[in-house]
Amino acid sequence: MDAFEAIKATFFQECAELLADLEAKLLILESGQTDLETINAVFRAVHSVKGGAGAFGLEALVRFAHVFETLMDELRAGRKECDDVTVRTLLRASDVLADHIAAAQGLIPDVDEARSAGLVAEMEVLTHGEASAPAAVEEEEDDFGFTPLTVGLAPLPSLDLPPLDLPPLAAPAGPAGWRVVFRPHNAMYAHANETGLLLRELGRLGPMEVSLDDSAVPPLDALNPEENHLIWTIDLTADVTEAAVREVFDFVESDCDLNVSPLGGAPFSADLPERPSLPDLAAPAPAGDLDISALLAAAAAPAPVIEAAPVAVPAPAPVVAAAPAPSAPAAPAAANAPAAPPAVAPVTIRVDLDRVDRLINAVGELVIQQAMLAQRVAESGMAARSSAVMMGLEDLELLTREIQDSVMAIRAQPVKSVFQRMPRLVREVGDMTGKKVRLITSGEDTEVDKTVVERLAEPITHMLRNAIDHGLEKPEDREAAGKSPEGAVHLAALHRSGRIVIEISDDGRGINRERVKGIAISRGLITEDAVLTDDEIDNLIFLPGFSTAETITDVSGRGVGMDVVKRSIQALGGRISISSVPGKGSTFTLSLPLTLAVLDGMVVGAAEQTLVAPLTNIVESLTPRAEDVHYVGGRDAVIRFRDTYVPLVDVAQTMGFRDAPVAAGQGVAVVVETESGARAALMVDAIQGQRQVVIKSLETNYQQVPGVAAATILGDGRVALILDVDAIVANARRRASGPELKLAS
């Protein structure tokens, strides 16, 4: 049962990949490039889902996939044109297909039956509407292909039946023997195997006739001596089993194309020496499931064949039976090569995320150890005495960095998986708001840590909704303003100075600053006479409580404002900003760390302790003079920062490292902003510098500590605490008299 569940889990993993591929290919179709290869790819994806679902008895999924597949088959055969309406239906069908898979997986309780049925009907109209005459025939054929697959394993035994006719095969095989077509890959020679030895071994089984096809050998000046261009065809006359023949090639089977067929299978084996036909024979279906056409052929073949050419009966059998065993590694490669030479699929393996994380942890420790070692050596003065030690250390550092980068790259994934979901969103939001929108994406291949990728989806969704709903004008307004009625929204990802930057820009009306200011005043977020720069006004929309009932619509409302977006970005260690030009549009810029395992921090000293403040929280640092510090109610210190007084929080005192705050006029104030947008000045003794630190959890071996977000290990090997700025400010505020004071005139 466990094994079954494991296979099922693998199936769902594959489904996820197939769905992503499906969506990508449909988007290509949507963009107007309706080439046959893309349509075929969509067909194959749906077909693979259906095939697997059939094996697991997932009826609803199979039924839906079947209708989908049937329509794809019509498109594939060119009987139906791949127009806009069809592609839009297909896109929605892929959404429902994803729902069906999720339901089968138990991720969602149920599929929206009405929607599913609606799409089935829609697809059936598309399938039969135009080509009503041939449809009857086609449908029959499709049903034929469909039935064996729903039953899943049923067709397999029926296909394996021919080998059961082994007596007839064995009898004529006695005098006949086997035809072996052997094409070594370059790798076979690289692995120190030799054709001559294999042939000698084969010769021990019986008399043989060897012919060599050297037609593919290039002229001498173009010949790479390490490449093989030869194909051997060996007719072996021996009363041996196929397995005995294959055994000879046991050690090289993954390094060659090998085809063993009974001698005398006249029309079938006559094709064998032809090089292009090899993959077709060796790989009836690349994914390992059975291709419909192969099933049909196999099902249709026996009847006429038995009467006409008894010798040929065994011919399909060994091929089908042989496919899973020896050609398994060779088949995908062979199938890929002739079908789509430009799209060489990268070789991948599935690895448990746990293992990767363990490796990442170990490398994190290696980096710290390396830094410690370097520091110790420097302290000992050894490096100054011996340049060899120095060089060794430098090499070690380079190597460590390289290992760290490579390991981090394992977790890195392109943002494509998130970007791919957005066209659907833009379609839906566009329809809902009655606006014409064109989404242009770029930088989909930009890579970032898996966790960051996963958490990007939500903020991007919100901001796209926002851009369309609030940013873009209605088509008629756009035309009145002299713009194209279709609004454009750009979604771009790029790497910039060790961070990933996501930009979402629209060519809409831009931010209405008067209105934003008005709302902010009416919500009590700013005073009526506050003097703000354009930039400051734009950023008001991130304040909590700004987005309220007045701006809620079906689309971007839902009670989620930009402050929530900002908070979720900050939780990832990111920053968000906006720039806007009235009448021209707005650009939101997100900047995020590439990984959550490291953090950009400001290393500070307080009461002989070294602490790290996350850079994302820091607004500015300054050295206050004694007269800059004021006391509210005689006790709670505030400091004037720009136009406001912000509370002064002594870090060492708040954390209990000392009793009295740092003396006025000494120390440095680091102005921070909490997630809720409140500001405070953290007083520390000194700033030691900026550094990227590896985040270590305190909870692993201890527990959460108030005021501490996590820990890290510095170059001297000591543990430094990373400040939880929000908690420190909140803690200080609880003691202080009240919230940050506005400068009243």
Partner: protein, 153 residues
């Protein structure tokens, strides 16, 4: 251990000193023993939490066992020892004066903690036994971390 062990209840314990007193814990829960290195103090934590140190890249909390048992404490010096122990899925450093011995013990030799001991001691001491005229207390490590206290507070 050249003689075949017939009695399955024999356990190996590691004995250590805090001040004048001797204690021991199951040797299986101790991962390694290392010298004292200055710890980074944790804010607003109980007095017996000495802070955290770096153990090959992991953040290791240090518990001053003497303070935890309510005994007198002294500032740790380079002569002090940290026993790195595994307690309920966490790795914790236990600060003691010195590690003295490895003891083999049969369960039958352990006597229940007498009533004279203070509440703090009785929380952690599972029993006592005599060895070569020394009295040794058998420690149960499960309650060493302040978790339960912190939640109650």
């Amino acid at each position: 251990m050249t003689e075949p062990q017939t009695n399955a209840a024999v356990r190996e314990l590691i004995a250590f000193r805090i001040g004048e007193q001797e204690f021991c814990v199951d040797i299986m829960s101790v991962r390694e023993i290392r010298g004292w290195t200055p710890a980074t103090p944790l804010p607003r934590s109980p007095g017996y939490m000495k802070g955290v140190i770096n153990l090959r890249g992991a953040v290791l909390p240090i518990v001053d066992l003497g303070a935890r048992f309510g005994l007198r404490t002294s500032e740790p010096t380079a002569r002090h020892v940290i026993m790195v122990a595994h307690i309920g899925g966490r790795t914790v450093g236990l600060l003691v004066d010195a590690v003295s011995d490895i003891i083999q013990l049969t369960d039958g030799a352990v006597q229940a903690t007498p009533d004279v001991a203070s509440d703090e001691v009785r929380t952690f001491v599972k029993g006592i036994f005599a060895l070569d005229g020394r009295m040794i207390s058998l420690i149960e490590l499960g309650m060493i971390l302040p978790e339960v206290e912190a939640e109650a507070a």
